[in-house]
């Protein structure tokens, strides 16, 4: 009986040592960038800051959940940013939360893919991300185990309810999400 208890205890210890690693998102190094066509003449780019989140790496799989702050939208032009915050686009007063939560993650040697749901302007729709770069290791300054990845996708803003200016202002919204977190 004593031997069985010891076996169970040691198995539990061993499994916790190899359990999925959960990282807390560093908002200072986590953000989303976007690009939308402006009347077909040029591409307007902007940035949305992160409010936090976490991700887990478990071998070749894992999970990710990131919260974004649409009120922080910054395209380098105050008046345009006010317009982007209005009901014409991000409607930040009514929908102050924007988030992405994965349903499945597949990691490969050169990146991987994420299936999940993007919530924006009060609508939640499935969106797939392609991981284009990923690195894990010890942070050179904090000495904490740290992981980061870049992911990209393209969504249609009209499907989230933003109809303003279509089709002159592009419907396709390219997104780049850069995430960094530490344990």
């Amino acid at each position: 009986m004593k031997k069985i208890s010891l076996f169970i205890f040691s198995t539990a210890l061993l499994s916790s040592a190899y359990a999925a690693d959960t990282y807390t998102v560093d908002p200072g190094h986590t953000y989303a960038h976007f690009a939308v066509s402006h009347l077909g003449f040029s591409t307007m780019r902007g940035r949305i800051d992160s409010k936090g989140g976490s991700f887990t790496i478990d071998g070749n799989s894992g999970s990710v959940s990131v919260k974004l702050d649409p009120a922080s939208v910054d395209t380098g032009h105050d008046k345009r940013d006010d317009h982007l915050r209005s009901p014409d686009f991000l409607n930040v007063v009514e929908f102050p939360d924007m988030s992405y939560a994965s349903t499945s993650v597949t990691l490969t040697a050169d990146g991987g893919s994420v299936e999940g749901n993007l919530t924006m302007m009060g609508k939640t729709l499935p969106v797939s991300l392609d991981i284009t770069a990923m690195k894990c290791g010890e942070h050179p300054f904090s000495k904490k185990p740290t992981c980061g990845f870049d992911a990209t996708t393209t969504i249609k803003r009209s499907s989230f309810g933003s109809q303003y200016g279509l089709p002159a202002i592009g419907d396709d919204m390219q997104l780049w999400i850069e995430v960094e977190g530490s344990r």
């Binding site: 317009h83 209005s86 009901p87 014409d88 929908f95 009060g122 309810g161 109809q163």
Partner: protein, 283 residues
Amino acid sequence: MNLLNFPEIQSGLIPFVSSLILALVLHSRWPQWSALSALAGFYIGAASMGVLDLTPTRSANRIFLLGLGFVAVGSIVDIITNRSSNSLIRQICNPIGLVILAIVISVAWLIYSPLSRQGGMVMVGSLLSAIAWSALIAAGLLTLDRQPIRAYTAITFLALAIGICTALGASILLGQLAIGLSASCGALLLLTCFTNVQRVPLKFIAVAAFLCAAIGVSGVIFAKVTWLTLLLLAGVPLIVRLPLPVAWSRLAQASVVSLFAALAGSAAVSLALWQSAQSTSYY
């Protein structure tokens, strides 16, 4: 090139023409049914902007649905006010007062959710300002029901000024909605100049007053319009009451009342323009 994608078509031509055609088709039942053609014009214009999407629930959707609700409220009030003045129901309550109350409650409900996230004195101050302004607009417009030229002129210019101020603030979409309402009512103002209508149905004024109040307050909460701008806009339903010679033709009366309304509206637009000019514009 799709003409329907142009804002001038969506919030100008479509509501104006739709409203005018429907009013002419329904002219035999003027003014009870023709006044509703302005609302149809407004909703057709909104549909052409692609904003009549009912999910997710947002303030614009609530404005559209509540606007339709006020058709029912206004219809009931019309029935009550058309009865004799000593009917029991009129002795118990003032129907116009009830509509004003309904408009104030609806506008407060519309903005309560986003304001509650801000909390504190900002929420209380904004809520009280919204209630006071909605009541002022509703009372100012609803009491013009026996003066059709003044009523249609006030709504046309008030909605136009709200639309311009909101577009100058931050939301062109909300601005377009108000301008669409203005274009719809403008069609009825034009027809009223050539008819002998003596009264505007309350079902129409109730909806128009609610839409003006709701879009104006939404402009402050969502699109950087200031309360001072709204205060100046509240002068529109008041200034149209300035006396005019009774002998004048309806067209002459409408022209002069329009000048009065444009004067009050342009004061608010000038303020919004000045505030907008503080930051660099873009297109």
